[in-house]
Symmetry: C2
Subunit: 173 residues, 2 copies
């Protein structure tokens, strides 16, 4: 009996840990990125546009980069480094042909954003993320953070654009 | 003398007409599109993103479509037709390779928004533009409206997507 009680206590403890991974918003803690603890920022889809990208090859994606007000202000003023509080979100979609457009053109030449592939987030906090150029990174698919192995690649991949404060995107007028 | 005075009156009248083409904002009336009288909406660059497009071939452009709050609400709710007051702005940029990205990839696969090509505006006013599906059109280059011949093509080109209320763009999640 004692062992059964101990087992129940252990199960309850595990359940308690599981419960603690649910945040106050009801979202599971798995949404926070490994290493950085970056989450998908609330309301990001309402943010202003920085620029757009087309990735060919294996990616075959159309992308848009949105910024919160701090990031947009820095972009427009051309001030680097980005100040603390700046957040950039990159929306990556599958690039798909637009049947409607192409019927008008009579050939396949127009491509639009298809289903979402992933979402990438960069959060500037020069103290918290001092070891990675002041940026915290998050990669999400279907709202869930990708694994640690992927996040270990984020900063190294951004080092080549150190001169642009580790940001590839430039504001499109 | 009488003829000279008449001439002066005529010149003054012409000057008066010219003066009237300057709007209260100090912008020349040449910014209003022929046929429709559509102008570049103030603050459009702060609007929310609807979607993005890649046009291959002769265009070789990356594009982004932004909407005012009325347009975005309709897009998100999937309600057609768009209500009066909806405005969609399409930003068209030259598609250029991103040297920064491509150095990392080791091949040319990333393209970004380059210099602006033109700006297209659709304004919904079901009464004012009843003859053209309720939409007024404007095409602008360097802030100046394109000519009448170009604007005569706007509505015919949008007729194939009558089922989408004459709008090609679909909201990207």
């Amino acid at each position: 009996m004692k062992r059964i009680v101990s087992l129940l206590v252990a199960v309850a403890a595990v359940a308690g840990v599981a419960a603690s991974t649910i945040t106050s918003s009801g979202r599971a803690n798995e949404e926070a990125s490994p290493i950085y603890g970056v989450t998908i920022p609330s309301g990001y889809r309402d943010w202003k546009l920085i620029s757009v990208t087309h990735e060919e090859g294996d990616f075959n994606q159309l992308r848009a980069q949105l910024g919160n007000d701090v990031a947009i202000k820095a972009c427009r003023e051309g001030k680097l480094p980005f100040p603390d509080g700046a957040i950039i979100v990159a929306l990556h979609w599958k690039r798909v042909p637009s049947d409607e457009d192409n019927q008008v053109f009579g050939r396949v030449q127009a491509f639009v954003a298809g289903s979402p592939v992933n979402l990438q987030v960069m959060v500037k906090d020069s103290k918290k993320y001092a070891a990675t150029g002041g940026w915290g990174f998050g990669d999400f698919r279907d709202g869930k953070a990708s694994d640690q192995a992927l996040h270990e690649k984020c900063f190294p991949c951004h080092i080549p654009v150190k001169a642009s404060d580790y940001v590839y995107t430039h504001y499109a007028p």
